[in-house]
Symmetry: C3
Subunit: 336 residues, 3 copies
């Protein structure tokens, strides 16, 4: 029996010359149960295929109601639909596959760094995302002229390979103050707030409730109850020269305008305005305020209960035990 | 005689299930004069009430023209209007009250930190702010599917409790380069420019002309002629653990990528890239360049004519007398 | 014979009282060849003039196809067109001239700092840029009320003198993740990506392929293959008190949350989180790690192959030879 990696049925939009610009999958499925897999495999082709809306009802017949409910509105579409059925998590070879994998992330069906995203950039066309929908980048100048001549207004929101997430996927329990800052493919845990200065790239996000006022680079994940302060930076791997994927654990506080270039465990704090890169020399200070030794920050990667500051008198970057976090933690447990 | 704290008459929008999503008050009143108060109290119920547009003309009969002029267009509305009449500044108990208080701030009728905002978050629903108007967050997935199926484009700008200010209130003499960054409830003094990287939360803002290229957190107010540099941070009380409300006086310069965690008086400068928190150790330097003493930044809270730098040779955070500001000030007075 | 500095033919939008709000020139020309100049001068008035769409075909008769192709759609306009014909690069004296010069920049026909922009701010009205097109700032409150009353939704994107570039000009080979961050008048070299946190002001930009995740202030230009990290700041001359125009050469890396207040040559790096202003004391370190001397950063202006860090142990700002850049450069040349 063939397993299914993922399946999506939805709409797509195309350029004047037939280039696919985007796909919208209202109820994508990942690794469905055996009987659901069988029903999907019986009615849909493996790979990317086009389906007439009139065919859907029959094709969905064997699927459970929790899946078909979200797909029923597609029968009213007046354009062909697109089905993407993947039996393996292999290299992305089409725009439709790319969109399905991005949907899986934002629907919390696939965690960041869990999918094979090779080929993603190559398969995503550069699109003008406008208030009239997507337009191929090369068609935009003519479209702008037509709009101006006809007295309409064409508003371009973005000229990018990735659209904003919330035009496609709305995860439960999140707030996003500026939707342009969260790309499709972001993974936002329930209870996450992304403020105006927050930014979440594709294949990155938060594992649980978190306050995001800084930038989550591609591949970076924040643990639950972590606060990424205003303008705070997490170092990515796409640019900046870092090769280690950064993750930040639970109950951490990365201060405003601070930055983090090493993975952190739980209950860590980086004070506002301090940027820790892997190469930063750090003085380890014990509980008596005595220096233990000098290290590079990368040697502290993954540690918990660390407080990073730059001493205001000496300019030395120091790592102390994050007493406040430990006390908070003890207090929380004492109340259990 | 009963005094009026505030009154607003306007439109509202509701979800499919009748949940109020927003209110728009074109000419809200705060503490009107006695005869205006009497006229309002005679014709409108205390609290939140619904009014048919056809009733308005009669009900506004006794009000002065400067108030009725802004309300006259409401007679043409084809939906019931909403009146919010508050006799006290008490805890917010409805969405309509929340919107009225936010309007008062942005109309410059109530200064930040002058109103009782208890209950605000609880009374504001999480709303998808779209180019087709507000949609209840829980209705958004279905709305997105409908739009895709019908070939329309639904653009979601924000998924948040607060809408952008300029869709509701346009204070005179301001420029806002990116409207998504200024929430309804921001207070922007005449002559204020908010650049793309500027951000102004509700219940915060500027008392006079100011250049805002950084983030003004909830509760924070900048004095006239103050420049908050690009990416500069003001520490808020909603997150970050600070309990003192920050204010920044007149003619201050908070440099680009700098940050401020203490209240400042007038003519203070924090150099670009330096973050001062309440706990930062600071060396006080006199006019001869001699160290006077070491303090924590919180001990300098509220002071004027201070220049904060981090010495590039020693890494020490220093506070010097802001000679440039003093000289500027002397020069300005010499020309009076 | 009279030379032409620049010429544009396009549409414009006006307020209810006839104030020009914007112009759109689909194919502006700068310093055209002699025969093109002659044809333009023969058919269009010097200065700003209005043209009926029906007149265009005849007036464009003598122009080459590569110019007329982009202008042909204007014949279908139902409003008068605007022609701006400048024989000199003189002070801007009208809104239409201002728009032409901004178009020249974004069309890569005029480099930043190469045009006379005197009068620009005075000639640009403050406009509400909405999803229904531009509205004069003073007309916005009434327009918002009308929209609310009629049940339409009016979305205000910006309240500013400058519109977003991509509503007017779409340079080839660029990506702009958030279009609201790039003003008309930005100059983006082919291959440039502006991420969500990137920002490009008018009369500034990139000379070639570049990654822009920080803020490019008015007048600042980045060389090819330079990376301006997330939240990084370039010090401008409009505010911040700097009088030297900053430029950054090729193959530089300004780290995340860093800042640059001096001109840099090629292959320079400023580490993440470090802000270099002209006045920053810097210790020059030789290849053996020995201090050579202390300087102010301004003395290093324009230098190449410099690496700026703040020593994590001593807090001292240091400038070292950027070995990685040199090695990279040698490796690149070795492969030629």
């Amino acid at each position: 029996m063939t397993d299914i990696y993922a399946w999506g049925l939805g709409t797509c939009r195309e350029s004047a010359t037939g280039v696919m610009l985007d796909c919208f999958f209202p109820a994508p499925q990942k690794a469905p149960e055996a009987d659901v897999s069988s029903a999907i495999l019986a009615n849909f082709e493996v790979g990317v295929s086009r389906i007439e809306p009139s065919e859907i009802s029959a094709k969905l017949a064997g699927l459970p109601e929790h899946i078909t409910a979200g797909l029923a509105p597609l029968t009213e579409c007046d354009r062909p639909l697109v089905s993407v059925l993947l039996t393996n998590d292999s290299t992305i070879e089409s725009t439709a596959e790319a969109y399905l994998k991005l949907h899986l992330l934002s629907h919390r069906l696939a965690e960041p760094n869990s999918q094979n995203l090779d080929g993603l950039f190559a398969q995503l066309p550069n699109v003008a995302w406008t208030t009239q929908g997507p337009i191929a980048a090369e068609d935009l100048p003519a479209a702008l002229t037509r709009a101006q001549v006809s007295g309409e207004h064409l508003e371009v929101q973005s000229l990018d390979k990735f659209p904003r997430m919330v035009n496609y996927v709305v995860p439960t329990g999140v707030r996003i103050a500026d939707a342009s800052r969260v790309r499709l493919g972001a993974y936002l845990g329930e209870g996450t707030t992304v403020m105006h200065e927050g930014q979440v790239n594709f294949n990155s996000g938060t594992a649980g409730p978190a306050m995001v006022e800084g930038r989550i680079s591609q591949g970076v994940v924040l643990g639950a109850h972590t606060d990424l302060g205003g303008g705070a930076s997490t170092m990515g791997t796409l640019s900046g020269g870092n090769s280690v994927v950064i993750s930040i654990g639970e109950s951490c506080l990365i201060g405003a305008n601070a930055g983090c270039g090493i993975p952190l465990g739980d209950r860590c704090t980086i004070e506002a305005g301090l940027y820790i890169t892997a190469a930063t020399p750090v003085s380890l200070i014990d509980e008596n305020g005595e220096k233990v030794k000098n290290v590079r920050a990368r040697e502290l990667a993954g540690g918990s209960d660390m407080l990073f500051i730059r001493n205001g008198a000496t300019g030395e970057v120091q790592c102390r035990t994050n007493r406040r976090a430990i006390e908070l933690n003890e207090a929380l447990h004492a109340h259990n």
